[in-house]
Symmetry: C2
Subunit: 228 residues, 2 copies
DNA sequence: ATTCCATAAATTTTCGAAAATACATGTTGC
DNA sequence: GCAACATGTATTTTCGAAAATTTATGGAAT
């Protein structure tokens, strides 16, 4: 793996997890020290991340962490619902045994991780399991473009969810595990309408919860990420 | 504008228009001579294009023009229909006078250009007008993410259409101008269902035509672009 | 003839410095 | 005081060469 690829992975990881505050300038000298490499691989990674809208760039003024906003969260969520419900329907129609097995095993791993009372670093593992489960649901949709957009939107919305996970704010009156199980069950039963409805509901609840928490108790979450 | 930005524009332009054959390696020495700059700005541009799936990259083996395939054309088209019909409905719901004016003027410019019996370079202008018209239809959808995905998919599918435009293969029994006009009319009349149906039909006809031409008369179009 | 290995050539990747530009600081004139 | 300007510093951008790796070439062994 080249240094540019390592830089891309590390930067993407750190940005999504809020190691840099949204909007904060990404100075090459700092990054060079932090990641122990020269400017060239860093700039290549930053250019990729720019194309993915995780960082912004301005001519001769360098790169910044892309900002967050409630508007973007709502936009990303509604587009996510559109893409993923369609992809889920397609996957249900054409999914084979391997697809079903992938759902079962990723749900199992997700629940197992969720049951561990989240130690510090476990949260990132849980997050990875959550991604893997939702990815597994769509895996058989047979559309590289939809899967790519799923990845893009997942990364974009993950940035909003992480600080809340860190704050250990559990959604009151909501059983996320049950939602995942019901979703998997509907998909495996090939009930496309029910699965799509559950998926949509799942995301609407999540974004409502996020909006509420951000507006009421963490109004500057959109500006200040955790320290790096 | 920095050299890296110039490199990005030039490379994107040349790749979409088929100046490099799909799958062809993009050697830095060649590109450096062609565009008159060093490796650094070229590599940055190539990394951005990689994130956009217009070029592929393999560790220590450099970059290649992304390949074309009928499967990808069909995938991109069906995702396009999903995204754009949704975006069009949203735009129809919330579009204001400026939106309507944008549709009228871009349609006018498109028809004007189409009526000029396409000289060599006019084809690219026509292509730009075509993009601008479709973009104008969606402009008021109020969703940066959908517009981004529109751009991505437009670029991806443009690659399939260009060689056919160059070959001046006009679709038999099809009046593309009339399709555009009907689409604009439905949008301006705020008839979302009709507009969405027309848009979908427009794309289905296009992809069918492309598939037929590629399969029957240009089977190796997917491999060999025009010389650069 | 064919596989294997060594060597050479071509290519990508990375660094370190130079060039270009933006940003901050302080100074002058009013 | 304060705007305009000059100067110096910080930062980005670009180049050219070095390092690392892959690909091609040619010869030896079987």
């Amino acid at each position: 793996m080249t240094l540019a690829e390592k830089a891309y992975d590390a930067l993407r990881h750190d940005i999504i997890r809020g190691a840099f505050a949204p909007g904060r300038p990404l100075r090459l000298a700092d990054l060079s020290e932090r990641y122990g490499m020269g400017f060239s691989p860093l700039r290549e990674a930053l250019n990729r991340l720019q194309a993915e809208r995780l960082v912004t760039a301005e001519s001769l003024r360098g790169f910044r962490v892309a900002p967050l906003s409630l508007d973007e969260l709502h936009d990303a969520t509604s587009v996510r619902i559109m893409i993923e419900t369609q992809a889920l329907r397609a996957a249900i129609q054409s999914g084979d045994d391997a697809w079903a097995a992938g759902i079962v095993s990723s749900l199992y791993a997700l629940n197992l991780q969720a049951s561990r009372s989240g130690g510090e670093a476990d949260i990132w593992t849980l997050e990875a399991r959550h991604y893997a489960f939702h990815r597994a649901l769509l895996a058989a949709c047979n559309s590289p473009w939809m899967l790519e957009f799923f990845d893009r939107l997942y990364a974009a919305t993950e940035r909003y969810r992480i600080p809340i996970l860190l704050a250990a704010t559990h959604p009151a009156g909501r059983d996320v595990q049950a939602e995942h199980s019901a979703l998997a069950e509907a998909a495996l039963a090939r009930d496309a309408d029910r699965a799509a409805a559950l998926l949509e509901e799942h995301y609407r609840k999540t974004v409502e919860h996020l909006s509420a928490v951000i507006r009421e108790s963490e109004p500057d979450l959109l500006l200040a990420g955790a320290a790096g």
